[in-house]
């Protein structure tokens, strides 16, 4: 009897949990589904009030029209190069910086780290003109260096990884040292494998941010051959309205790669965010 009640309660609990999860999923997915549906509407349908959820006839030609508005193939190539390049370099900088702030106690290391943290208080928009002046003085306008280099040092990532590194017990380091392990080897054999989920998280967050960057790529490129996908999306808007249906078609194509990467790597992101410390 008692076990029956327990079963019933657990069934109800499951129903509740799944209802909540499904509702949550619908809320989260709705913007994406709406984007997909809007990309198949006519212009009139896309701006109708109240909004129409489904197009009367699916307008697949929107995709073709949208892709013809700007050289999206070139933009795609540039976006991949700058996002991948930026992510790899960011990981290098982040890992080495976090390692030195964790392992090496050099004079002023805390001051420098505090200064770095303080820069997080400065909004990125404020620095954009200064960065532009610097980069254009280097002659990096319309180059991949200009697109990639200014954003390879991210204090937040360094801070995040440093916290992870600090959770690896000092004893491990000492034990490795006694076994004759160099710092370099220690970093690659012990530190990184133990914090891989955090590193993957950083890589994904950075990749997404880099993929979605707009203002900086616009500022430092003039040549269509060096521009990126997000700039292509502005081609659908003027001062008196947007061609929403075409914009959504282009947006759908643009987010597909990021969505795929996210799908494959999501287990790392989740574990990277939720996992507290070191096992054992």
């Amino acid at each position: 009897m008692e076990s029956n009640t327990k079963k019933v309660t657990s069934v109800w609990a499951k129903v509740l949990i799944y209802t909540a999860l499904i509702l949550g999923a619908v809320v989260m997915l709705f913007p994406f589904i709406f984007m997909l549906l809007t990309s198949l509407k006519t212009y009139a349908e896309s701006i109708s009030v109240p909004p129409k959820i489904f197009p009367e006839v699916a307008q697949f030609k929107n995709y073709k029209t949208a892709m013809e508005m700007a050289p999206f193939d070139v933009y795609f190539k540039n976006t991949v190069i700058s996002s991948v390049g930026n992510t790899i370099l960011t990981l290098f900088v982040t890992i080495f910086a976090a390692f030195s702030f964790t392992r090496y106690k050099f004079y002023g290391s805390n001051v420098i780290f505090t200064l770095l943290l303080a820069t997080m208080m400065v909004p990125g928009e404020m620095l954009i003109i200064q960065n532009y002046q610097t980069v254009s003085a280097f002659g990096w306008i319309d180059t991949f260096q200009g697109l990639i280099i200014p954003y390879i040092a991210n204090v937040f990532y360094i801070f995040l990884l440093r916290q992870y590194f600090m959770q690896i017990p000092e004893q491990l380091y000492k034990a490795a040292k006694i076994d004759g392990c160099s710092d370099w080897k220690y970093l690659w054999k012990i530190m990184i494998p133990n914090t891989i989920s955090a590193i993957v998280t950083i890589a994904i967050l950075n990749f997404i941010a880099s993929w979605n960057a707009f203002l900086w790529p616009l500022l430092i490129t003039n040549n269509d051959k060096m521009r990126v996908l997000t700039i292509g999306l502005t081609h659908f808007t003027n001062e008196s309205g947007s061609q929403v249906h075409l914009q959504m078609a282009a947006a759908t194509i643009i987010i597909i790669p990021v969505a795929i990467i996210y799908l494959f790597l999501q287990k790392y992101i989740i574990s990277g965010v939720t996992r507290g410390g070191l096992k054992g």
Binding site: Y43, A44, I47, S48, V49, P50, M69, F106, Y107, G108, V111, I112, L115, M126, L127, I128, I129, Q130, Y132, Q133, S136, A137, I141, L215, L218, L219, N222, D224, I231, T234, H235, F236, T237, N238, E239, S240, G241, Q243
Partner: protein, 438 residues
Amino acid sequence: MKKLMLSLSLAAGLTSLVACSSKDNKQPEKEKSEIVTTIENPVTIEFWHAMAGTNQEAVEKLVENFNSTIGAEKNITVKPVYQGQYTDLKTKTTAALKSGSVPAIAQAYPDWVAEYLQSGSVVELDPYINDETVGIKDFDDIIESYREENSQYEGGKFYSLPFNKSTEVLYYNKKFFDENGLKVPTTWDEVEEVSAKIHELTGKTAFGIDAPANYFITMVQQYGGEYTNSQGDILFAEDGAKAAKEALELLKRNVDAGYWRLPGEDKYLSGPFMSELLYMYTGSTAGYSHIATADFEVGIAPMPQISDKTGAVIQQGTNVVVFDQNKSKEEVYAAYEFAKYLASYEGNLLFSTETSYLPIRESVVSSDAYQNYVVESNDQTKIVGPEQAKYYFYDPSFYKDAYSSYNVRMAAEKAVESVVLNGVSPEQAIEEAVNSLK
């Protein structure tokens, strides 16, 4: 070594602080020098613009035409560069001005020009326009108010030439008006009357205002007041702010009755209009393409007026401005030649028949080519817009330490919105607007 690193990073931090706080206080100081009107060695100049889609195609056509005719003859090649939407173009031009990489010529609103003038890099165009050989001989053909707009700066000098221009008109649902025997309003009294009738018939909002700031600026003029002057005095608040109050009261009365509305989350009224949730609205002629595909016939009428004596319709759109920062005299002259082409009969005819923008020359409006185009495209904004030219006015642009014309415009918009959305009284809204500019 460690100490050196620390002091280096501190120094870096300090310089960036200084860089943040230092303001560009360079005053425009131009050495009077002879202009160059011939080019020996070929030059290439960039033209930064914010024209996307069909407008961009038109810009590219203009550039091709220029490069293959005047350009080829005078050793000039223009390279058009799309720099995103207007705000992006502005950000980018500002950044480029600071780092010395500004193009020879760019699209700019008058208030941007007022701001760019602070850098001392904007070229005064009078010596070119008035030059015997390369000047603009039929300059008077350019609609007067556009000439005034482009020479509203200190000393009445031309710092820009007109390019893509639009104005406001009244859009209405012609099918609905015909079916119900309604008369298209020409005065604001009639707008109120028709709005009440439509509301009675349908229970819906009848009329909308697409650009709240334009409503305020225009109606202050129509009620016989003044908005600002080019020195930046807030004229609409003077003498008890009579005109401004009347403008806001007219709006408040009709919004409260459920007859009128402003755009909200929908941002533009084209959506509600096409969905027949609204039967007329005032909006930019540049937006016609967005409603041209409606299921019903769209009617286009002149902007309603209070009276003929105070007739006022705002003129909008950008001009082109020439920069001489790090430029040779030849490049500056090349930029002027391109600006001149854009404002020429040929250039303007091409642009105003390929885009939704309006002619800037009387001769283009009256030309057969233009009139034929209007018949073919069936775009009445192209007729109704220029017909209002006698009422055209611009809101003066200025850039002061305390505030700029852009800030005043934003304050005006906020005043309109707080009257409509928050039920603030017109007096209080005006007072708040003025206070926000102190």
